[in-house]
């Protein structure tokens, strides 16, 4: 796929006209967005606006009702019912999309080191030695070098989420998907996680971040998308979207969360 602007980076992930219904409830009604390599896209919106569902449709944790997902120029093949047509293709694509969950979802029966090496060793077939060396470097990077042999349940939420980010980085993803990464954290722990994400933005990682942290979105995002009732109500550069919103509903939303 040719980029629209040849001087800009290639598109890492593209969502085309995404629809998703749960039973009779239409959660997404035609959402399209793209993230170029190195771009940080923040997705904001009220609860029930469909932002988490949109993110989860990208890696097919939810099956889109209609629409197309393209990762690194490769469209995900789907059956008529919308489910992935080729299990191996979607598994391969998923290894390039690393997700960081609201509830961390670390594997509780494995130490932090084992959590970080799990996918490299057992999915990507990296040697244990290489995987462990890299995992230790990543844990060090998120400030958890001394917790490598600790089980997740013995750590604070902030530490668990930083470990989950290390787990995501371990697969060397094209795109990182953050699903409200700080929403389950005590207020005093939010900063340490945002700090790690901020560092990742600074080194030009491609990221889609669903967040309620408006100041953070404004600081790190290249592009902000405001979802409302399953549609994109407004989008653009953060200073404009968050500083001078055109939509009355966005102004109302920003007023409510400020």
């Amino acid at each position: 796929m040719e980029p629209e602007h040849p001087h800009e980076a290639a598109v890492a992930v593209e969502v085309q006209d995404l629809h998703k219904s749960f039973g009779g409830l239409e959660v997404l009604r035609g959402v399209s967005l793209k993230a170029r390599r190195g771009e940080v896209v923040a997705i904001i919106g009220g609860s029930g606006s469909g932002k988490s569902t949109m993110l989860r449709c990208i890696n097919f944790l939810e099956t889109p009702s209609a629409g197309r997902i393209v990762v690194d120029g490769e469209p995900v093949a789907v059956r008529p019912d919308g489910a992935p047509a080729d299990r191996r293709q979607i598994e391969r694509i998923r290894t390039r999309l690393a997700m960081v969950f609201q509830a961390f979802n670390l594997w509780t029966h494995r130490t932090l080191l084992e959590n970080v090496t799990e996918v490299p060793i057992h999915v990507l077939k990296v040697s244990r030695r290489d995987a462990e060396a890299r995992a230790r470097a990543l844990l060090d990077r998120v400030g958890l070098a001394d917790k490598a042999d600790t089980y997740p349940a013995f750590l604070s939420g902030g530490q668990q989420q930083r470990a989950a980010i290390a787990r995501a980085l371990a697969v060397d993803p094209s795109v990182m998907l953050f699903d409200e990464p700080t929403s389950a954290l005590d207020p005093e722990l939010v900063g340490e996680v945002l700090g790690v994400i901020r560092d990742l933005a600074a080194e030009s990682r491609t990221m889609l971040i669903v967040t309620h942290e408006m100041a953070f979105a404004r600081e790190v995002a290249d592009h902000v998308v405001f979802l409302l009732d399953g549609r994109i109500e407004e989008e653009g550069p953060p200073d404009r979207v968050l500083g001078r919103p055109r939509s009355a509903r966005l102004r109302q939303f920003l007023g409510a969360v400020a």
Partner: protein
């Protein structure tokens, strides 16, 4: 030592339980070994059925789920003694028909294989329910994370589902193992020389019923106590990632 036994009137019992003939101790231990061999085999076979059955009940299609519901309901409804008779005679009959169809003569099913087959099928029904409950107790987010990172279904099962559910399953599995060790006694009815039948024969030959059944009871108790220690250790290991809450096995 001898005087003490004399004083307690146990000299005769000790002689009867001696490992050297004319003592019957060796027979009892041989019976115990057979019992444990069958219990271990049936437990393992039951676990394999149980894991497949639990996955079938949770992720299978409608027909598979219905078939499994019939299996677990029927097996758990019928008394084990009756099941053992049915499965033993049906099993040997089927085997002989198959052998005949392939042009072989009558085959004699070994006692151990028959015992494992019969008790394994019974254990499988209970294990299906134990493991289904344990799998459902695994936080869905852990399976979701595995899928989100591109793990194939069997890898998810092996690397995430099974190790994550083991802690929940361990108390139920310990029960199943203890039931397996004691259900082997029911195999006496089809003439398999496990601990209970050996005991009965020893007791009948010597008329020392009290001595031999007490000895057999002690052996069963010993097995239970040792199993308790082993399962407590395994549960501690299986729950290694969980902070301690309240008591444990």
């Amino acid at each position: 030592m001898t005087e003490l036994l004399d004083a307690l009137g146990l000299t005769q019992s000790v002689a009867l339980l001696s490992l050297q003939p004319p003592g019957w101790g060796a027979n009892l231990l041989r019976g115990l070994a057979n019992s444990l061999r069958i219990a271990a085999g049936a437990f393992a076979f039951g676990l394999a059925i149980g894991l497949a059955g639990a996955c079938g009940k949770l992720y299978g299609g409608v027909i598979l789920r219905d078939l499994l519901a019939v299996y677990t309901t029927v097996i758990r409804a019928v008394p084990e003694l009756v099941l053992i008779l049915i499965l033993y005679y049906v099993g040997t009959d089927l085997l002989n028909q198959a052998a005949a169809a392939l042009g072989y003569g009558r085959v004699e099913l070994s006692g151990v294989a028959a015992g494992i087959w019969v008790l394994g099928i019974v254990q499988g029904a209970y294990a299906t329910e134990v493991l289904r409950g344990a799998i459902q107790a695994v936080p869905p987010g852990q399976l979701e994370a595995a899928r989100a990172f591109g793990m194939p279904p069997l890898t998810v099962l092996r690397r995430v589902t099974v190790p994550a559910m083991l802690g929940h399953a361990m108390p139920g599995l310990a029960n199943l193992w203890l039931i397996a060790t004691k259900d082997t006694a029911l195999l006496a009815i089809v003439g398999f020389s496990e601990l209970t039948l050996e005991t009965q024969q020893a007791a009948a030959s010597t008329r020392a019923y009290f001595t031999f059944f007490l000895a057999a009871g002690a052996l069963y108790l010993l097995v239970t106590l040792l199993s308790g220690v082993v399962f407590a250790r395994m549960e501690r290991w299986a729950r290694r990632g969980q902070p301690p809450v309240g008591g444990s096995a």
